[in-house]
């Protein structure tokens, strides 16, 4: 499903966080949302996920206005992977993944294994089947992220929203997670910090600066030395790696010790 934002603005009290943002996520593509801290990435994700109502503009999912959908219907179509997730409850991995069935369940419990197939499939896709009976609190950061991914997939969404999903993950787990997300073929919008990873895994990049879109397009058009300097204030060279041919941002800022 196509996800679009048109002229979205959002703010808290007098402070404007998002200012006239437009964005188009084509069906089945991965869009990377870049920008410095405080540029409005999380806010934009929340507005586009329907969790916050914009002061102006509309967000459309297919033909529907996201903010006019009933909350349950919205949750059946859009799943969000939060930046941080924590609970004080002693839940097992399977129980956490099963939370993703809530938007599909009725008020009254039906059969015991309702949605069991979806849960099993989501755990397989996220590579956490072997963790099913573990206490969520005993998992590592990477495992927790994959459990949350499985929970999101259990919602069987058309759109996946990821807020810095690779935070706190080591390099290998970062690649695992993003590769898994690409495999799914869902319309995906992911806020990311790592420019190289964004270039490698996203079809399109959107760069936010002070709540406005500073650049948007395919990675090779968006990621330039000029942009990195303008948006992040960091001197860098953007090139292609001689073996992989992938885009690379190499910074050479005076702040580095050597």
């Amino acid at each position: 499903m196509r996800l679009t934002a048109e002229g979205v603005s959002w703010g808290v009290r007098e402070r404007t966080i998002l200012d006239d943002v437009s964005l188009d996520c084509a069906p089945g593509t991965v869009t990377g949302l870049l920008g410095p801290n405080g540029s409005g990435k999380t806010s934009l994700l929340h507005v586009m996920a329907g969790l916050r109502r914009p002061g102006a503009g509309t967000v459309r999912l297919g033909p529907d206005d996201v903010h006019e959908l009933r909350t349950r219907v919205r949750a059946q179509r859009i799943a969000v992977l939060e930046q941080h997730s924590s609970t004080s409850l002693p839940l097992t991995v399977r129980q956490v993944v099963e939370l993703g069935r809530i938007p599909h369940r009725g008020r009254w419990p039906a059969s015991r294994d309702e949605g069991a197939a979806e849960v099993a499939e989501a755990m397989r896709l996220s590579g956490i089947t072997h963790l099913a009976d573990r206490d969520w609190h005993t998992l590592s950061g990477g495992e927790r992220q994959r459990v949350q991914l499985a929970r999101a997939l259990t919602q069987q969404p058309a759109v996946l929203m990821l807020d810095e999903p690779t935070n706190h993950l080591d390099l290998s787990h970062q690649l695992d997670l993003l590769a898994a997300v690409r495999e799914l073929g869902l319309t995906t919008l992911a806020a990311l910090h790592d420019l190289d990873l964004a270039a490698a895994f996203c079809d399109r990049l959107v760069v936010l600066q002070d709540g406005r879109v500073a650049a948007a397009g395919p990675p090779e058009e968006v990621l330039t030395a000029e942009l990195v300097d303008r948006v992040y204030g960091v001197e860098a060279t953007v090139g292609r790696h001689e073996h992989s041919g992938r885009l690379h941002v190499v910074w050479h800022d005076a702040r580095a010790a050597r």
Binding site: H46, A49, L51, T71, R72, V73, R74, A75, Q76, I78, A79, V80, E82, S85, S86, T87, S88, L89, P90, L91, T92, Q95, V96, L99, G100, I102, P103, R105, R107, W108, P109, R112, D135, H137, Q155
Partner: protein, 368 residues
């Protein structure tokens, strides 16, 4: 006073993870626990009816109940019928309904505010009810021509509702939302004001037994429960049970916080309003008939979580059952331990509940 300490406790940070980190919730535990508790509840009712200043053998209890239900039974004496059916049965069923209702309210408020110390009196209910009760006990305020227990109950109910309205007015934001943290603090503020009034009225009244009577009310009692009040309590508890279990999935969705619940399709504002106001009204009804009975609503949900895990499809019905059983035995102890006198039931719930809770906590901390 009591209301104040209760409210203050509830603002301390949660510690649930350390309480029950390793609690396992195997499939089947819930059903087994449900069957055991249901059987225990049925047996408790029959056995507890026989206990008291006059002991009625279980066989006679069953005969009285069978005859009253229109079923064939052996001869029943008028005195047995009066003791079992007129006096003890409504009180015991009322106790079960009160215990179930308080445990449900506690479970919901702990989950919704993500605060382990939340109890049914969180939103100023006990403070407001005490203001109403004290006004009748100490100041002799009359309520629409009612006298005695009816006046007391009505005044307590009205006081609880006024406190609830004030708490909601304080806590509601511009967008009509009801954020849990602010709601808890508003409950504390209103509770303090109510406690100040209660203390002032008692100290200034000049009646030498005012303090004792107010304290007795605050600790709760089921002594005045007859069939009409028992029926109200049972209906209220059953309506609450159904209404709250319908929100089991929504409450589960709060496990990873508000944003996560919203992204799982839970309407935060609607769910908070329905459940906070619903449990407050439930508690206000219970308090009007029984006074502010402590401990059950705080501890029973924790005990159930330790045994059966935190998912609400199990937690809610099992808490209701466990609360009912604990309250029946607490009330039975309250009316029969000391001959010719009632022990305040709040004392008994604490004495019965605390060791059980301590044992489970200890077992948890060893296995963690």
């Amino acid at each position: 006073m009591l209301q104040a300490t209760r409210a203050t406790r509830a603002t301390r940070p949660r510690t649930r993870a350390s309480l029950s980190r390793s609690a396992r919730s195997r499939p089947g535990t819930g059903l087994a626990a449900g069957a055991v508790l249901t059987a225990t509840l049925a047996v408790s009712i029959v056995v507890a009816v026989g206990i008291g200043s006059v002991t009625v053998p279980i066989g006679d209890v069953i005969d009285v109940v069978l005859r009253r239900l229109g079923l064939p039974a052996d001869g029943v004496t008028a005195i047995d019928d009066r003791i079992v059916w007129q006096l003890r049965m409504p009180r015991i069923l009322g106790a079960a309904a009160t215990g179930a209702g308080l445990a449900l309210a506690g479970a919901v408020l702990q989950s919704l505010t993500r605060n382990d110390l939340a109890d049914p009196y969180l939103l100023g209910i006990s403070g407001g009810a005490a203001v109403g009760a004290v006004s009748v006990i100490v100041l002799g305020v009359s309520v629409a021509g009612l006298v005695g227990g009816a006046a007391l109950g009505t005044a307590a109910f009205v006081g609880a509702l006024v406190a609830l309205v004030l708490v909601l007015a304080l806590a509601t934001g511009r967008t009509g939302d009801l954020p849990p943290a602010r709601t808890v603090l508003a409950g504390v503020a209103i509770g303090q004001v109510c406690a100040a009034y209660t203390s002032f009225a008692v100290m200034m009244s000049g009646q030498h037994d005012a303090a004792r009577r107010v304290l007795a009310w605050t600790m709760g009692s089921l002594a005045g429960v007859r069939w009409h009040s028992a029926t109200v309590l049972i209906v209220v508890a059953l309506v609450a049970l159904v209404g709250i279990i319908a929100h089991a999935g929504d409450l589960d969705a709060f496990a990873f916080g508000d944003a996560s619940a919203a992204s799982l399709g839970v309407s935060l504002r609607r769910t908070r309003w329905v459940l906070l106001v619903g449990t407050a009204l439930l508690t206000a009804c219970l308090v009007a008939y029984t006074g502010a009975i402590g401990f059950v609503g705080l501890v029973i949900p924790h005990v159930v979580r330790l045994v059966c895990g935190p998912l609400h499809r199990r937690l809610l019905p099992l808490s209701a059952l466990a609360g009912a059983v604990l309250m029946i035995w607490a009330d039975t102890a309250a009316r029969s331990l000391v001959e010719g006198q009632e022990i305040p039931i709040g004392v008994v719930t604490a004495v019965l509940g605390a060791p059980l809770f301590a044992y489970l906590l200890r077992r948890e901390s060893r296995s963690a």
